[in-house]
Symmetry: D2
Subunit: 372 residues, 4 copies
């Protein structure tokens, strides 16, 4: 019997690993221990706990380690607190393996804790490139970890170039894409949301946009100035939109403030705002969207398989591998508006298999059982 801990620090990270967890939870030789930390343990950033429970999975441990995000020191200290708490848990539970997901800043706490305690450490999504602080964390995670489940051949090659032992790298595809094929747009299956602005039903009834834009922490541009062009462009295009609030990275609060201010000045009247959306529902929404706008990786990853047109703003995803569905633009209101129009007139793209094809959760689950 092997005890495997999965450290999840945000809702988006959960959907990156979800299908693998469901497989692991049914494996007879595995005690699955889901540990939620940092922004994942805080209601302010979408209720991760409920999403996990709705999938029939149990949360084994919760580490309240998210600092108030208006602090400049928030990211570094959240890592410190997560590291302290995680180390207690991993030691006391006699864990055989730790799974570290992708590249959010606080994930480095999991790879340090696992490797410094001498526990087998598995990293998901190594070898990709995005072009910001996530790159730093993702590569640091790869070096600290022992085994690597990567999305594609290109990622594998990058890790080998880094001097990582090739016998410990496995091309599995990314589990986040496992649920793409089965979650098509279906108006009946999209629930009413409770956020503010236009009602969500009013959004989905016809042609609609999806906006999701996080702070670009390495940009010289202030977070507030990063979001204004998008606000103006969405208003100018004039099509209903679902807008997901930004994450808890430094600058997230300023973006929220800017959006609130815009609303008080009468802008964004055709928008429904939501903190977060259940992953499967979100895939259905992406499938039905006329265009996805912002700087979320879903536009490059999930949407490459779905075929939804996307407008990628600024440098947050600069170096990430992507399909022909993505059109990249600067923080410029006119550019964004024109790109949305161009993408909408093109319409749906053909699916591309850049990040896996739908079986990766099963494969990762098997490999972990084998190795741990």
């Amino acid at each position: 019997m092997k005890t495997i801990a999965i450290v999840i620090s945000a809702r988006a990270s959960y959907s990156r690993i979800r299908s693998a967890l469901i497989h692991l939870s049914h494996a007879s030789g595995v005690n699955l221990r889901i540990v939620i930390v940092a922004s994942g343990s805080s209601n302010r950033f979408g209720n991760l706990e409920d999403f996990i429970k709705r999938d029939g999975l149990e949360i084994a441990w919760k580490i309240d380690s998210q600092l108030d995000t208006s602090h400049k020191a928030s990211m570094a200290k959240t890592v410190g607190l997560t590291l302290l708490g995680l180390t207690d848990y991993l030691m006391n539970l006699q864990i055989d393996g730790v799974v570290v997901i992708a590249d959010r800043h606080e994930t480095i706490a999991a790879s340090i804790s696992g490797s410094f305690l001498g526990i087998k450490t598995f990293h998901i999504q190594g070898g990709e490139r995005t072009g910001n602080i996530d790159d730093k964390v993702r590569y640091a995670n790869s070096h600290l970890s022992d085994y690597h489940f990567v999305s594609n051949q290109k990622a594998l090659e990058r890790l080998i170039d880094c001097g990582i032992d090739p016998t410990k790298i496995f091309v599995t595809g990314c589990p986040s894409l496992d649920s793409v094929p089965v979650n098509k747009f279906d108006f009946e299956k999209i629930p009413s949301f409770t956020g503010i602005g236009l009602s969500s039903k009013e959004v989905f009834i016809g042609e609609y946009l999806v906006v999701i834009q996080h702070p670009e922490t390495t940009s010289n541009l202030k977070s507030a100035s990063q979001i204004s062009p998008t606000i103006d462009a969405i208003d100018a295009v004039g099509i209903p939109a679902l807008w997901i609030w930004p994450n808890s990275d430094l600058g997230g609060d300023e973006i929220v403030g800017e959006i609130r201010k815009a609303r008080e000045h009468g802008q964004l009247k055709g928008v429904h705002f939501e903190r977060s959306v259940e992953p499967e529902i979100f895939l259905r929404i992406l499938d039905g969207a006329a265009c996805v706008i912002g700087n979320s990786s879903v536009a490059l990853r999930e949407c490459s398989l779905i075929g939804t047109p996307a407008v990628n703003i600024g440098g947050r995803q600069r170096d990430r591998d992507h399909g022909s569905n993505v059109l990249s633009v600067q923080y410029d209101s006119d550019e964004i508006r024109e790109a949305i129009k161009k993408q909408m007139s093109h319409g749906r793209f053909a699916p591309e298999f850049i990040y896996g094809s739908g079986e990766s959760g099963k494969l990762i689950s098997r490999l972990i059982q084998e190795i741990a």
Copy 2:
């Protein structure tokens, strides 16, 4: 005026950067801020503070972050505490650049803190290979850092392979070798030490050995069993030796315990034990030594330039570049004894320039002033 913080976590790390610090301290455009953390702030592991002050340098800040080393969680939690304390300091002082030294486990706190706060982060000694947990930390540090001062061409190439921007990597050599040429063996200049065992003078009067062996944290062999063969071999060879106590890594306490036990059983009568030795004095001692035994990197680095024969035990330095002065053996008393004899009968080797040639502190100081 640029404010540059240097984070030092152990005496050995200080000697890796010392010559660069002395140059920086004289630079007119630089506020140098030496921050000592973790085992560097604890008297239990050699008085780092005094070594620094004796060089005319000032300690700007001290973070007491070393956990009791008998804990299994000590390494991970020491990183957590260091990270929390360092983040406060770097934020409050408005630091322009942070210098991260090499690969000790707690150095990752400095590279996380610097990079997550958006401060320019400089890493020394990236791109080398040693074959244990230090590798993980060293490469993670490289990925988290912005600028890289490396020892040689081979290290540069490894970092480029990792995808690190080649314009930000500089082959400077390692400052730890800057003081090699000027510190020749001279009996008159070696002070009397205060440690236990044989008097130090009795050691240096004739032919002598130097032993310095730290716990190999990734070995399956218990720390206690790692040291026994060395104890037996040193006794068997029967030549006076200077023995430096191990560092604070997990297992260090067990090694200390084993040595104490051996002494109580009448072994190691020809040995003088010392917590640590001032770097310049230590170079003189290495220069005069008949053979250096253990698993310290000095045997591979400094001694490659000095030419002192070395016996390297176990896997702690497995993949580190080294010169022809090094003979590697297993944790086996007979093997160690034979290797010492063989090396002693060979005598001094010709100097090799694998880690720089003596000007690297000056070069690093100039580059930091230019870039920060």
Copy 3:
């Protein structure tokens, strides 16, 4: 020259010590070191930093230690983080005395850090009673501290009963009341605020209320249910009001949520909402108010000297000494409404000297210089 550190964790705490700080900052033998921590270091809870700077005082150090308040563990962990950071600061700066203010949960970090490091620790506002978790913290602070500056004779007697050395307790009155006499209501001196709702000028033009209600953390009633009766009562009374958002204690977020919801449902149209108000301005506003409603201590302390009628809701101030200006009620909309009407029809009360008479900052400053 004595170095004195003052640890401030919230805007309200600052006004408790402000006049003493201004005197200390002019004292020739004192290096004053203002350290802001916890919610005081976070913009989310009113900009403490600006308030301090506006008084011509300098912030020496800032410890970002406020956890996200949606965590249940937020209070305990914020104490832990503050304690770690403060200990680094107090040790490095060679502090001669630490001043601990009153009873907010995170203040215990200051009294632990000071006393465990053997620094003379001064506590302000010991010996009072309020009847909730603040009592626990206030008394713990008294026992951990060495010297005590208390508001009145009754507080002195309570500390003596606790076994505290009577020669170390000084009845100084509370500095927070020092600025009461000089800050009368004057419409011209009240700036326009930038918060939401009714404009602040519309509030102050005629008769107005002031509302300030924090979560009562020891109540069985949910925070959301604690605030609804107040919302209803303020609407029912129908007089313009200035409403200060709640503090960062557990439950503060729920209260904010409830108020936002009420506003979206068309309630509280006659209210101006403000995060926080500069202390001196706030005194002017209290002086002009027809009635102060909620559970802030200003209603019992400052307003006892001003004479402003107050309606005190729930148990948060249960055991606090107060004057005849205070009428206490339950969390009941009708009760609150009737109490407001009754207090308004009574009008201004005569000043009572329960918490000092206006010279306490000067006295405390002298005592600290004498003792430290």
Copy 4:
């Protein structure tokens, strides 16, 4: 079913609560959760874990939170780390009650964590007086806790004077004395110890002394100077002695250093040194001792019931209630020597019931079940 957490931070604390734990572990309605923290989790300070397991009790959780004790900041930071770790545990386990033991510096982490999370907090040994930093912590613990199990009527009265609710204070006696009556001196039942110096058997064969002296952290005298007079006096008296190493408080390391130095200079030849002794065995040894010397509370507490003569050195126990068996002296070698002689010539005292009479563990166990 109630889940009760007991936080134990040192071997000495364990023996203060042991008999209550054994009763609680047999109670059908109780899930007992023993949590070991701080020096209790470190092998350096006596193997607490083994003592607990030998009693058939299980350790539920371990928090490695002891900092290296050579740091000046060690005490404050150990509290910070313990508080962070304990908060995670108490929250995740849904604890109904927390038991806080006595007054060691790190116990304040337990009372903060329990009270700030709103868990019923039980404190043992409140209301006593000893006259040093322990007093501060003990009283702070009392104020932070909800229920109080005290040793005697005098302690009860002191807590009532502090304003603590009399209905929540119970005079139970101290569980540490429960095992006094059944553990008489019996040479056959005292095992051979493994410490250094004279063999333990050589000590117990005839008349012997017991020495146990911790650093007095509030004394102006350096720790090293505190211990020298004792060393000299023990040598002068010339009777075999069992000497227990000091605890991990600040200064403990210096005392250890002084003792080691004395031994290297040929002193203390008639002494057996031991890190710690199993509580029941220790009672047998105290029962047989001619005199107990130092500043441990066992001399005042357990020995008042046993009747063993004691010489209490310095101010560490200054204000603690004690029986006629105790003779107090200064840090003066002559005074100590004379006092030992005087006490030895008096011989055994009559038992006094100052800290309970042997049933207190049972009573505490019942009360906790009733209240939690």
